[in-house]
């Protein structure tokens, strides 16, 4: 018999994140590395435990291996619990056949049994593709206070940006009267952050109804929210203020990493009252050699630096040899940047080798036409050979040898 929970979390982590291209060829988007030692999923998981939520179902589908082994028993997030804790929930087979998760709502539908075991009052639905710190307990208090059937976290965006988001049109008190997915002419700037609290009884019924509708694409934004509005349920918008970034594209992932170096960005990983936890191994401290020059950079344990670093983020065990020059680079674990190589405005994934004198990416100042410029990306385990050039915007496939 499971103990009744006030609220549990369902974390949608099955997406490919196809706009991250080579970075998500081999891992799901929530397992993409971020900020020197984290993965994207560390943010929602840490937010949960910091908000007092001790039961999290993680729904996986696309390339789950890395995610499964990373989450493990949940111990780094204090989610290894006797009652509750973290569960990986992949799609499964039944006597009626087997199905993939067809959409976000269908993924929850298929796990109704899991949620019912905890008999929660409310369910928090999250996605594993955003970088932000948020106290879900405050959102829950708002949800209870307003007596809403569903509460959706929203963020004020600029009017120009609004047509890229799902927009909530609300009355003055925050009651949602209309939801528009990527509107051409937005009426409001309240963008949905993909964070929902639902009254479980009500959501459960809507999921069952939605599943029975063959025309539905089984998606929260497209189907469940509009259906609830049609049914006259009370939906509230919960205003969030603070740092939040969808890291679904190469540019936004790079920007979010750079934001860590910008004190004005409001994204701090070291605040003692809201720690972000990660699974980490025991590497020795990073070593800085005789010839190193390091300015405004983030460096993780296990690195050996003897080159020049300017505004860069280095994950664990990265080697930067003498004479190598890094500027605004994000370099993931175990990568080696050899003598005299140059890496500028680029993301280099794990286990890559940039050989002597190779050049990856370039400074946007050198491009009069900004459409020719973009972040260069080198996939996992790829080798960029001696003297080769990887142009801005170019992407090198995982394990490529060029």
């Amino acid at each position: 018999m499971k103990q009744k929970k006030d609220m549990i979390t369902m974390l949608l982590a099955g997406g490919q994140g196809s706009r991250l291209y080579v970075l998500t060829k081999e891992v799901a988007k929530p397992a993409v590395s971020f900020g020197g030692k984290y993965k994207i999923i560390d943010f929602p998981l840490s937010n949960c435990i910091n908000s007092g939520i001790d039961t999290v179902g993680v729904l996986t589908q696309y390339r789950p291996l890395e995610l499964n082994s990373y989450i493990g028993n949940g111990q780094p997030w204090d989610l290894d619990r006797m009652n509750g804790g973290v569960y990986i929930l992949p799609p499964y087979a039944t006597d009626k056949g087997s199905e993939w998760y067809k959409g976000t709502a269908n993924a929850i539908y298929q796990n109704i049994n899991f949620i019912d075991r905890y008999d929660p009052e409310n369910v928090l639905i999250l996605s594993g593709d955003h970088i932000y710190k948020m106290d879900y307990a405050k959102m829950l208090a708002f949800h209870k206070e307003t007596g809403a059937a569903a509460t959706i976290a929203v963020l004020d965006v600029s009017l120009e940006e609004a047509s890229r988001f799902g927009i909530m049109n609300t009355q003055e008190d925050g009651t949602i009267y209309e939801f528009e997915e990527k509107p051409k002419h937005p009426k409001s700037t309240k963008a949905s952050m993909g964070i929902y609290i639902f009254n479980w009884k009500k959501l459960r019924q809507h999921l069952i109804d939605d599943e029975a509708n063959p025309a539905s694409s089984n998606d929260f934004g497209k189907n469940i929210i509009p259906a609830m509005l049609d049914a006259g349920e009370k939906l509230m918008a919960y205003q969030f203020e603070g740092y939040w970034k969808d890291v679904g594209t190469i540019d936004s992932l790079w920007e979010a990493n750079m934001d860590l170096l910008n004190p004005g960005s409001n994204l701090q990983l070291d605040s003692p009252d809201w720690k972000i936890y990660a699974r980490s191994a025991a590497h020795p401290p990073h070593f800085v050699g005789e010839n190193a020059e390091i300015t405004e950079s983030i460096i993780s344990e296990g690195c050996e630096i003897d080159g020049k670093l300017w505004y860069s983020v280095l994950f664990s065990n990265v080697t930067v040899e003498q004479g190598a020059d890094l500027n605004s680079a994000v370099v993931m674990s175990n990568t080696v940047i050899k003598k005299g190589a140059t890496v500028k405005y680029a993301i280099i994934a794990e286990d890559a080798i940039i050989e002597e004198g190779a050049i990856v990416g370039d400074d946007p100042c050198n491009y009069a036409d900004s459409s020719e410029w973009g972040i260069a990306v080198v996939g996992r385990g790829a080798i960029v050979k001696k003297g080769q050039i990887v142009r801005p915007k170019e992407m090198i496939e995982p394990d490529a040898n060029r």
């Binding site: 900020g35 780094p76 936890y277 025991a282 401290p285 800085v288 300015t295 405004e296 460096i299």
Partner: protein, 372 residues
Amino acid sequence: MISKTMCILFSESYTATPNELAEERTLATVPFGGRYRLIDFVLSSLVAAKVSNIGILTKEHYGSLMDHLGSGKDWDLGRRNGGLKILTPFAKAETAATRDRSKIDALLSCRTYLEENAEEYVILADTNVVMNIDFRAMVEYHVEKDADITLLYQNRNNPTYNGMVVDCDRNGRVIDAFYSAGQTHETQSTLLKVFIFKKSLLLSLLDRAYTFGWADFDRDFITKNINKLNIFGYEHTGYCAVINTVADYYEASMELVNTQVRHELFESDIPILTRVKNSPPAVYGFNGKARNSLIADGCIIDGEVNNCIIFRDVEVKKGAVLNNCIIIQGSVIGENAQLNCVITDKNVTVQEGHVLSGYPTYPFVISKGETV
């Protein structure tokens, strides 16, 4: 054979007086190398050799040891069977007052622990030894030689050493074992305080020790038995630092900026495991400069750091200049402070503009939590 081997570690050295860094903690938990504690090295070697039944004998102020080790899971020693066991001092009315108990007394207090475990061999090791060692090979050597006791030694020329040295014959059998008075400039086979015993033999030696009131482990267990028992020496040829004094500590710490030493310690087949904490990566500010230094996660470097070991969560503020220093966890070095050959223990604050200096052979140590 290794599965038939258990281990007892000593959290104190019993012979040397504790140095300033071990005043409020065990010698085993003196912070070392930017994020480790001394015990991590021998413990990691044991784990790599799959010795998974390890008892740690404590003497006093072992709170830091319990904090550090926790359930042992960071060393993969949080086991249902075996794993890590902290053996707390056993105070009976008649022994309660004897604070300066010997190593033999300590072993007598854990006799039951030795007896109730089925392993045939037992490794006894001090924890203040910074090295990687292949315990599997050492145990195999012990079995192959049919030894009663195997002791680990290293040929060193160390004039300040005043521990036990041994002479071995061509087969490796120990033919002499005596205390070196120090000040000799010859290479000597110095003990690294790591022994393998047949457990039944250790128990019978403990009986004798109890009967005759023996108190000196090296002299009474080794030297007295040279002719009676098969005692073999096993040479350690890799890097090794034994840390007793602050000078030992400073010298060994500073050796870590030598890439060869660092790679031998940290990039061998034996990963050095330690308690995993959750600090974000280190951040360098606009004015940060570092050269030839080891810097741990959680640091904020906005000053200048040369030839230093900087532990976790240290802040070096703008304009501060640190040369040849060891700055332990959580310390803050204020703006424009200048430090040379200084060791700050945990959570020390050096206020802005202060100039402090020690000397390489006599570093200036600032105790835990102090504000200068």
